[in-house]
């Protein structure tokens, strides 16, 4: 069981998601469970609910998972995925209202310090546009 909160990155573009994950990984190494997804079910730009569910599964931590998204569709699809989680995981995945790259790096750093899911989200959201 991982002792740190996990991070999931959801972008319309797989390149953006992977690049963002690389940046987080460089900051926090393997201390934080980390997964990304990007692209619609046919591989074009967009997001996919099954892919988001799979990414949450890969980054799963008993302490919870923070999800970072880019644009509106990624947010709506992530909210839908979070609602579809099995009951035992409900309430332990939170969406962060923050810019994807900066938010993921901040969330990853906070998570690597062993902070709670709520603290991880709060730190990411300090970057929220006013």
């Amino acid at each position: 069981m991982n002792k740190n909160v996990g991070i999931v990155i959801v972008s319309h573009s797989p390149d953006v998601a992977r690049g963002t994950a690389d940046m987080v990984r460089q900051m926090v190494g393997d201390d934080v469970p980390l997964a990304w997804c990007g692209g619609n079910p046919d591989g074009g730009l967009g997001t996919s609910v099954p892919d988001i569910l799979a990414a949450i599964d890969r980054a799963w931590s008993e302490r919870g998972v923070a999800v970072l998204v880019d644009l509106g569709g990624a947010e709506t699809n992530s909210e839908m995925a979070i609602e579809m989680l099995p009951e035992e995981r409900a309430g332990r995945v939170l969406l962060c209202n923050a810019p994807i790259v900066e938010g993921a790096v901040m969330a990853g750093t906070e998570a690597s310090a062993g902070s709670s899911l709520e603290d991880v989200r709060r730190t990411a959201e300090e970057l929220r546009p006013a």
Binding site: N40, V49, L71, G73
Partner: protein, 204 residues
């Protein structure tokens, strides 16, 4: 009426074929004010629905509608997946196994409320709700001319999104420049209403 599999199959195909046939038009509308993926996204979702039409039609109507919703959620790939998915899932959850005409206003009421919650939106923001809300209100009003009247209401409502300014979704980035174009989600909702009304009239 909705208790026979053949009729349910016709309804499912009517909705799917209508959306697929208008995919390019929806894409063109979305290119004007969004990211241009609405047509392809709806097409991908409804092509899967079409492929499942026989299996879906064998189930009672609420389960069939929930099945459509689940497929749209999993396959569409844009915000319209969860939004239309929620509409169908909520109809499926709310309708009784053998719905009568009287069950539809309250079921659509619940479904439209769920779409509002999912999109954190309401009528007047240049979205699909600008069609769904007036259609719901007209359905609740009842009286003569249903269901045909609903298609007229839906098309007028989609047309009425042209001068609106978007405040939700990608179109909101354009601000004033979103004015002057029909909302693609409003258009796809009107197309769905069309398909359902045509199906009801064919049966009548």
């Amino acid at each position: 009426m909705t208790n026979d599999a053949a009729a349910r199959g016709r309804l499912i195909r009517a909705m799917a074929e209508r959306l697929i046939a208008h995919a390019e038009e929806l894409t063109a509308l979305d290119q004007a004010i969004g990211d241009g993926d609405h047509g392809l996204n709806m097409k991908r979702g409804f092509e899967t629905v079409l492929a499942q039409a026989d299996t879906l039609a064998e189930q009672p109507l609420p389960e069939a509608l929930s099945g459509i919703g689940k497929t749209l959620v999993m396959r569409v790939g844009g915000a319209s997946g969860p939004l239309y998915g929620t509409l169908f899932l909520t109809l499926g959850k709310t309708l009784p196994a053998e719905p009568s005409a009287a069950d539809w206003p309250s079921a659509l009421d619940a479904a439209v409320a769920a779409v509002k919650a999912r999109g954190k939106s309401d009528a007047g923001q240049k979205t699909m709700l600008d069609v769904l809300v007036p259609v719901l209100e007209d359905l609740k009003r009842g009286g003569d001319g249903l269901p045909g009247r609903l298609a007229t209401v839906a098309h007028a409502a989609a047309e009425a999104t042209v001068p609106m300014r978007a405040v939700r979704g990608r179109a909101s980035f354009l601000g004033e420049r979103s004015v002057g174009h029909m909302d693609p989600g409003a258009r796809s909702s009107a197309l769905l209403v069309d398909a359902v009304v045509a199906w009801l009239e064919e049966k009548a």
